[in-house]
């Protein structure tokens, strides 16, 4: 454990990924990347990976989302909220994302495909909500974010 309470930073600056960790009845998600935008994108994949086997999802379709705000934590919760919304209302599984932050918020292209029970596997419970509990956004580099997902 480092001084920030986060797992040690990845060795290579270009690496990007996510990890789930146990948090009482819920699931914690930490994600990293060379930039904050990349870490945000990895977090989107990590969110969907709680419920689905993301490795079988092909990035064949895309959805554009906009999140307004200036606080990084709020942007992260907003972006994950958008991905969760698409997952729940359209069955759209976003496993790749291109994120571009601007001064007043962020724009993202979420790529994936609609859930298909014949092709995709459910691997875990659905996420109810993205919480602000113990949320952290470290711009790095390398950038790291952490968020707790309510199950």
């Amino acid at each position: 454990m480092t001084a920030t309470g986060l797992p040690p930073a990845p060795r290579r600056r270009r690496s990007s990924g996510y990890r789930h960790f146990a948090h009482t009845a819920d699931v914690g998600l930490t994600a990293w990347g060379p930039t904050l935008d990349a870490a945000f994108a990895a977090a989107v994949r990590g969110l969907v990976a709680v419920t689905y086997n993301v490795q079988r999802v092909r990035p064949r379709a895309e959805r554009a989302v906009v999140v307004k705000g200036d606080e990084p934590a709020r942007l992260l919760v907003g972006l994950l909220g958008e991905a969760l919304f698409l997952e729940e209302t359209e069955g759209f599984l976003a496993t790749r994302a291109d994120v571009a932050r601007a001064s007043d918020g962020l724009e993202a292209r979420l790529r994936g495909e609609p859930f298909d029970p014949a092709h995709h596997a459910r691997v875990g419970p659905e996420v109810k909500a993205i919480t602000y509990h113990q949320i952290s956004v470290d711009p790095g580099p390398p950038a790291r974010v952490r968020v707790i997902l309510d199950i």
Binding site: M1, G5, P7, S16, D37, A64, F85, G124, P125, S136
Partner: protein, 552 residues
């Protein structure tokens, strides 16, 4: 999107190029967060993951100072003073911000488990809410939650108190419904397989695929305003169902206009769906009676086949909570409310924000009652296809995540208060006019779900609960192991097979994730219910054991 497609493409082109190389380098088969929980994009094969050794670790609360959370606890461990049978008081002197004392209902063993849980700190934090009366309460199944502990009860004065969405939780009106069939265990055993299959087809998880009851936006608005009354009119229930549901399945004061478009969108495809996590649909058999008179009033007898439904307001309720947490965080600043944890975000009950939240919360609660009604409708169809009878009578339906306006004697005089119950069940005793007539003599049925391998309980409230806990008792077992720890302990165990050998048939669209919900992941709900009984706030009526389990 504000910018044109072309601009967007230019802006993101460089990132995409970088991503392409990462994509090509994704390695290893990840089968879910429980089995490894990570992907390291573009590390060479064979190199250790960057967070090796940290798997499954829980970050201690306050280990860092992230934005948006409370600072690490100051003032040392929370002091607990024994205050009678299964009662421990947290004195107001424990923390400078406490307006009232805390009261923890627990025995020594449960208390041991709580000592290292931030829940006690949260009980103290809740005692700082403006307008809180009586005590900040923790039920025996209390554990850490967002802001409020799960298993927490707090009553605030209607006149000058606050309402806090965190005191209700994300799953507004998560609750339980109990149905009783005319069948006995022998009838069930003969066709248990067929019933399990019929139910697994009839009871959708509502995850990934659209399988909610077919409703449009106008229907949804009526669901929010009229609750189960709408469902009965639409043919998803019978007129006699209404009397057996808390507030007849329609909480007054619901304001559909206070529910965001986004929340409505999330709810549109989810009416009559189960959800996942600890939610379940179980066919159970009564296997122990503790109070014959109360059991008779509820139609429960040994060997009787029942149905236990545990579900809530689905995405609609989750979004309402999320929306109002944001709104209240701003409102707090406007009303100059300072609290020890930002997650206790609240607004005065009598403020526009407070009233709007309560309108939205009541609407979401009506959605939840209707959701359980939709599940009941689907269960009746499945029972009819297997047994030729759709007779499933509602024993009761009660919320365990909700805030309600009720009247209590506080400091010697009657006062109207808003009782926040987060993971706590309303438990009104006999003689209370709020409960159905048929239960006037015995008390309101309190439905307490256990885990899928053991049992669930039916209890009734007592006068003592009215005097001490704002007519509230526990809501379930509470988790013992984290999801990943449960999965780890059960690695290589075929849980479905093991339960089948004990006569419990489990159906789930994600059997791989069932271990998270196994018995060993939970505390024994019997311990929790027994403590409530010993404390005098509840009386056990019956115990039911699962025979068919449908998980989302």
């Amino acid at each position: 999107m504000a910018s044109s497609k072309k601009e967007r493409q230019e802006k993101l082109a460089a990132k995409r190029a970088a991503k392409r190389s990462e994509r090509n380098a994704v390695r290893g088969a990840v089968t879910g967060y429980l089995s490894g929980a990570s992907e390291d994009v573009d590390l060479p094969a064979g190199s250790p993951p960057p967070t090796k050794g940290k798997k499954g670790k829980t970050y201690p609360t306050g280990a860092m100072a992230p934005s948006g959370t409370a600072a690490p606890p100051k003032g040392g461990p929370i002091p607990l003073t024994p205050a009678g049978t299964c009662r421990y008081e947290i004195p107001t002197s424990a923390r400078p911000f406490m307006r009232v004392p805390g009261l923890v209902i627990a025995d020594e063993r449960l208390l041991e488990g709580l000592r290292n849980d931030p829940a006690l700190e949260q009980v103290a934090n809740v005692a700082a809410l403006p307008g809180i009366v009586g005590r900040s309460l923790a039920m025996p199944d209390c554990h850490w939650g967002y802001g409020f502990p799960v298993g927490g009860v707090a009553a605030t004065r209607l006149s000058d108190g606050v309402v806090s969405p965190g005191g209700i939780g994300f799953d507004i009106n998560c609750g339980v419904r109990l149905l009783v069939s005319p069948l006995i265990e022998a009838d069930l055993e003969k066709r248990k397989d067929r019933l399990a299959d019929a139910l697994s087809r009839a009871i959708p998880s509502g995850i990934g695929v659209r399988d909610g009851l077919p409703i449009d936006r106008r229907d949804l608005e009526r669901v929010l305003a009229e609750g189960v009354h709408w469902a009965v009119e639409r043919g998803y229930g019978r007129p006699e169902d209404l009397a057996a549901i808390e507030s007849t399945g329609r909480i007054p004061g619901a304001n559909p206009d206070a529910v965001s478009r986004r929340a409505m969108d999330r709810g549109l495809n989810q009416l009559g769906t189960l959800g996942s996590g600890n939610h379940f649909f179980e066919v159970q058999v009564v296997d122990e009676i503790y109070d014959g008179e109360a059991a008779r009033a509820m139609g429960l007898e040994l060997g009787r086949v029942c149905v236990f439904v545990h579900s809530g307001s689905r995405g609609l309720g989750h979004q309402v909570c999320q929306d109002y947490l944001e709104l209240m965080a701003e409102a707090m600043r406007r009303y100059s409310i300072n609290l020890p944890d930002r997650q206790l975000a609240c607004a005065p009950i009598n403020s526009p924000e407070g009233q709007r939240y309560l309108g939205a919360m009541n609407a979401a609660a009506n959605f939840a009652f209707s959701n359980r009604q939709g599940l009941t409708h689907r269960a009746r169809q499945a029972f009819a296809s297997v047994f030729g009878t759709d007779e499933l009578e509602i024993v009761y339906d009660v919320a365990h995540n909700i805030a309600k306006s009720e009247e209590y004697v506080v400091d010697g005089h009657r006062e109207r208060v808003l009782v926040h119950r987060k993971g706590a069940t309303r438990a009104f005793p006999s003689g209370n006019l709020e409960i159905p007539e048929r239960y006037q003599g015995v008390g309101q049925p309190v439905l307490i779900p256990g885990d899928m391998g053991r049992y669930s309980f039916v209890a009734v409230g007592t006068d003592q609960a009215m005097a001490e806990t704002f007519g509230s008792i526990c809501h379930g077992a509470g988790r013992r192991l984290s999801r990943s720890a449960a999965k780890k302990e059960l690695r290589g165990v075929d849980l479905v097979d093991e339960l089948a050998r004990r006569g419990i048939l489990v159906r789930s669209p994600s059997p791989g994730a069932l271990a998270e919900e196994a018995s060993l992941a939970y505390k024994d709900v019997a311990t929790v219910v027994d403590v409530c009984e010993r404390a005098g706030i509840a009386r056990k009526v019956a115990r039911l054991r699962p025979r068919v389990v449908v998980k989302g």
